[in-house]
């Protein structure tokens, strides 16, 4: 816990003069905002541990205000608001296996699968002869998200998308 927010340590460097006081230069990721910050502590300092855990969930549906997920083993359901879902909302339509991070038992963030398969619902037809030039055009996916795709993609095609950078990978 740092400044009231749960954080995960991404890097921890020991700074220690031979016979002197040791310090830890710590890089942490704020799990609420996703921002990375750097802080130094005397080695003897302690901070409150955040009660954070990751669970595997399946995305069920959204009612517009909440996104509903279920733990496949126990069928227990969790409702996450738009802040917790964040960018994951751009890539999930239902039945995807996601990781939900809980803080004090409440949804803190959602990590979608690295790759998802989504259908194109709208894109302009590619112009003839353009395929060889490797150009791209916008396409709208069934989740409403717009991605850049090659010119040969048509409406109705199902695409494989890398959710970590939002880029088109291939036709599914």
């Amino acid at each position: 816990m740092l400044d009231g927010d749960p954080c995960s340590i991404t890097e921890n460097i020991l700074v220690k003069p031979g016979k002197g006081q040791a310090f830890n230069r710590v890089k942490v990721k704020n799990l609420k905002t996703g921002r990375t910050l750097e802080r130094t502590f005397k080695t003897t300092e302690s901070v409150e541990a955040a009660d954070v855990e990751d669970i595997d969930v399946e995305f069920l549906y959204t009612d517009g205000e909440y996104w509903h997920f279920m733990e496949p083993q126990t069928f227990e359901q969790h409702a996450a608001d738009s802040i917790a879902v964040g960018d994951a909302a751009k890539w999930i339509k239902g039945q995807e296996a996601c990781v939900m991070t809980l803080w004090d038992g409440a949804p803190l963030s959602i990590t979608p699968p690295n790759f998802v398969e989504l259908a194109v619902i709208q894109t302009d037809p590619g112009l003839k002869g353009d395929t060889a030039q490797g150009g791209s055009k916008p396409a709208t996916l069934e989740t409403g998200t717009e991605v850049k795709v090659p010119l040969f993609i048509d409406e109705g095609d199902v695409l494989k998308i890398d959710t970590r950078n939002g880029e088109y990978v291939s036709r599914a």
Partner: protein
Amino acid sequence: MSESWQPAAGREIMQLRARMLKHIRAFFDQRGVLEVETPLLSSSSTTDPHLSSFSTRYLQQNLYLNTSPEYCMKRLLAAHGDAIFQICKSFRDDELGPVHNPEFTLLEWYRPGFDMFELMDELGELVQMLAANSGLDHSIQKISYADAYWQAAGINPHITSADECLNCALQHGIDKPVGLEDDVDEWLDWLLTQLVMPTFPADSFTFIYGYPQSQSSLAKLYKDRHGHTVAARFELLYGEIELANGFDELLDSNEQRQRFEHENSRRVALGLSSSVIDEALLKALQHGLPACSGVALGLDRLLMMLARVDTLERVIAFPFSRI
């Protein structure tokens, strides 16, 4: 890439390590310094509040792993008076990072009749010989703790305050660590690593000597040319990496006991357990230690420098991550 059962350091590094050890032994053999062995297990632990000993046991008896072989080597000095050296493992709990491994190799030696500057010269000759054998040519500079601080930070470390250190940090864009408040020594340690050491030339050796009295540990005290009482303690660095720490050794058993007790009270104030004081060392000092200087050199870090790599993992066959 490589599997975790395999060594982290390659064959060439192992060969370089073996060559380094051979050259060190030849260096001391030529100078008539006797190689000795002392136990790694000890019934006492270090009182230094900044070090933490591993503890273990023999049946019901509590024992500790040495953080350095210093105390037993001083008992040998008190008994025989010979110049001695030792290459051994030392252990420090809670020290792990790119240049820290909880178990590491130390070369420690003691020179009766040498003052701090004579021992610095001998250490300089040793590391330059080893560097030359690896085809490296490194210069050595010597600077007092006070001069190094003055040049890098504009602070006189022997009379500074926590407030002045804080202002200095702010001026130089250095953050204030959480938990660092009004302890001047802690501030000096912090600014030393963040502001002073980065001014040392990257590819050469630097000696710093004449530490603040409050950081004297097992060193004698003396008056520097400005009249400040300072510790006859030195360190050797390569770039910003500390390789060695040495003392013109304290001989007075009463003062040594007071320093142990003072360190123990600091441990308690910091919420650490107080350590078992080494009575055998105090008895040896009472019997009489010849005037001498001693130094401990971290051989894994020295090997890092010789091999031109920047983490200990590359020079230790099985570092902590693979045991």
